[in-house]
């Protein structure tokens, strides 16, 4: 394990940024975001970023390809940005888990090469949590916020930053930073995590096996009734990965984009022939069923939620996965 006095954090960032692009969480609580590091940029004092770390691997918008149409001819121009090596510093345990979830979607056959290229170029440095928010519930999903995964795990304690490489890529990063010293991190006081109000959320009602039962639960109606149908929860969620493919005619050619989409939007599944999810109830249900039932059904019981609590903080009507879990979990109890 390596260590570095926190006073030298800027020097560390500068050293990393010398060789690769470095992103660190910066900004105020509520709007903090992963920002390309530049001289003087400070680490946020907020627990987490407003948008999740998935942006760096699965950006909101990306230009897939361009087309040029002349007469009856079409030319496809693949002009993806060359993926450059980058370091993502300060990812929390929850967001780090979300990468595993996204990997299972994008890296299965046929591989999404855009996502893959970024994953291969990105080195994830996670940062252990010490000051959770009341909305945190990663511990209820089997995540240890004090020992997150990632290529490198970092802790801040007693004036020092401690770093541990978990992968070869992490090893490579740390070994390229001569300003690090050897050191062992002190034991962390975990008592605050025992006080988290959502630590004991019960997920036993969910999983792939009880699909139809959960699908037909009467509670969906009241859970969904005041949903605005906006995409806030989807877009701040580290595991949501629905997307749309859109063409934009620039006048000189056609640019094809992939952009985030939300299953909460009324036109998400709209077809000229009809609408399989006609009301907000079906759309709302889809989102939660996908995270808590369909995804686990396809991925050995793993939930599509990492307990980051962003949807709890950001939903305009304070409806969220925890309330869904409580309402449906309650019903599932014998």
């Amino acid at each position: 394990m390596k260590k570095l006095p926190l006073s030298q954090l800027d020097a560390l960032f500068a050293a990393i940024a010398e060789k690769r692009r470095l992103y660190i969480p910066a900004g105020e609580a509520g709007t903090a975001s992963f920002t390309p590091w530049r001289e003087g940029l400070k680490l946020t004092d907020a627990l987490n970023t407003a948008r999740s770390a998935k942006d760096l691997f699965f950006p909101q918008v990306e230009n897939l390809a361009d087309f040029k149409v002349t007469g009856k001819q079409i030319q496809v121009i693949e002009n993806r940005d060359p993926a450059e090596p980058f370091v993502l510093f300060g990812v929390r345990a929850c967001d780090c888990r979300s990468f595993d979830i996204l990997d299972k979607v994008f890296l299965c056959d046929p591989v999404d090469t855009y996502y893959q290229a970024r994953r291969e170029q990105g080195t994830v440095v996670t940062l252990a949590c010490t000051e959770p928010e009341e909305t945190c519930f990663c511990t209820a999903l089997g995540i240890d916020p004090t020992d997150p995964a990632g290529d490198v795990t970092a802790w801040m304690a007693e004036g020092f930053l401690y770093l541990r490489a978990n992968t070869a890529r992490g090893e490579e990063l740390l070994s390229s930073l001569p300003l690090l010293e050897e050191g062992e991190k002190p034991e962390q006081d975990r008592s605050v995590f025992e006080k988290l109000p959502l630590r004991d959320l019960d997920w036993s009602a969910f999983g792939g096996e009880r699909m139809m039962e959960r699908f037909n639960a009467p509670q969906w109606a009241s859970l969904a009734e005041s949903c605005l149908g906006c995409g806030t929860c989807t877009f701040v969620c580290p595991t949501c990965q629905c997307y749309d493919i859109k063409d934009f005619n620039t006048g000189g050619g056609v640019k094809r984009y992939r952009c985030w989409d939300s299953c909460m939007y009324s036109d998400f599944t709209l077809m000229s022939a009809g609408q399989p999810r006609p009301t907000q109830l079906e759309r709302f249900r889809q989102r939660f069923m996908h995270k808590l039932v369909y995804y686990p059904a396809n991925h050995e019981g793993e939930f599509g939620c990492v307990g980051c609590g962003r949807c709890l903080q950001k939903c305009p009507i304070s409806m969220n996965i925890v309330k869904v879990a409580r309402a449906l979990g309650e019903e599932a109890k014998p």
Binding site: D112, T113, I245
Partner: protein
């Protein structure tokens, strides 16, 4: 680098045939004049015109055809409107094939097959039917029930008359919704016709057509005592990626574009009713 599944290839439309007032069949080959890819009957592919849109269509031609792919497309939206307006020689983009296709070499092998189609629903079935015709000895009896609003709306009518009807071991049963002067065949809706024909419940039924036809045909088949694991149908939902990722065609733990579009009835019973 590995080829990105979302980037289409450019293909050329070499022939356009008008089947019915609102259905045209498009023949496409790649820029070297060859068939763009191999497929299984029942699979789909994404056709697109940049700037107009991209849409998923079932491949109508049989895998046994080695020269080209064909798509029978009904005019019903932005992309299809555009396609109906083009002329041969136009290039379009294509990616695929997508979906599971019919189990022609496994579950169907050796079975007596009944194909039930309504309107444009013949498009995906035509691929299977021609495949089955090609490997006739691998299957039992073949019955084809096909209905449309009128004679003019029967897709591939000429091919049906010229090739299917004349082939031994294949019984073709055509019907139209309302009587018309130049029609001496059966008149009536497909579900009733299927009932009248009274197929043996040991046969395997493959259905494709408008939801209302599926619904009533199914009710009839259930009445007659067909087991649910002998009935196949295809689903159609909005799709964007074709890869089971964009989230639109997600039903339960299945993605229609990847795990479908062909489902056996007993499989559908396990899924939420969102189609």
């Amino acid at each position: 680098m590995r080829r990105e599944a979302l980037i289409p290839q450019v293909v050329q439309v070499t022939d356009i045939r008008r089947d019915t007032p609102d259905v045209k069949t498009f023949r496409v080959v790649d820029l070297d004049g060859r068939k763009p890819f191999l497929h299984i009957p029942g699979q789909c592919a994404m056709l697109s015109m940049p700037g107009v849109g991209e849409a998923l269509f079932s491949i109508t031609s049989s895998p046994t055809n080695e020269d080209y792919l064909e798509f029978s497309i009904k005019k019903c939206g932005c992309v299809t409107d555009w396609l109906h307006a083009i002329e041969p020689g136009q290039q379009v983009t294509l990616r695929g094939p997508y979906g599971n296709g019919f189990p022609v070499d496994t579950d169907f092998a050796g079975k007596d097959l009944v194909f039930v189609a309504g309107g444009i629903g013949l498009a995906p079935l035509r691929s299977v039917i021609n495949y089955v015709r090609c490997y006739r000895d691998r299957y039992g009896t073949v019955d084809i029930v096909y209905g449309s609003r009128s004679k003019a709306d029967l897709v591939d009518y000429q091919e049906i008359l010229d090739e299917w009807c004349s082939e031994p071991g294949i019984s073709v049963h055509l019907t139209i919704d309302n009587p018309q002067p130049d029609w001496d065949g059966h008149v009536g809706f497909v579900p009733n016709f299927v009932k009248e024909l009274g197929f043996d419940t040991g046969k395997t039924v493959v259905m494709c057509g408008p939801p209302i036809m599926i619904k009533f045909t199914l009710a009839g088949l259930m009445e007659q005592g067909f087991p649910r694991d002998q009935i196949y149908t295809t689903l159609e939902l909005r799709m964007k990626c074709g890869l089971g990722r964009c989230g639109r065609c997600n039903i339960g733990d299945k993605y229609v574009c990847k795990d479908g579009p062909v489902f056996r009835l007993d499989q559908l019973d396990q899924l939420p009713d969102e189609y």
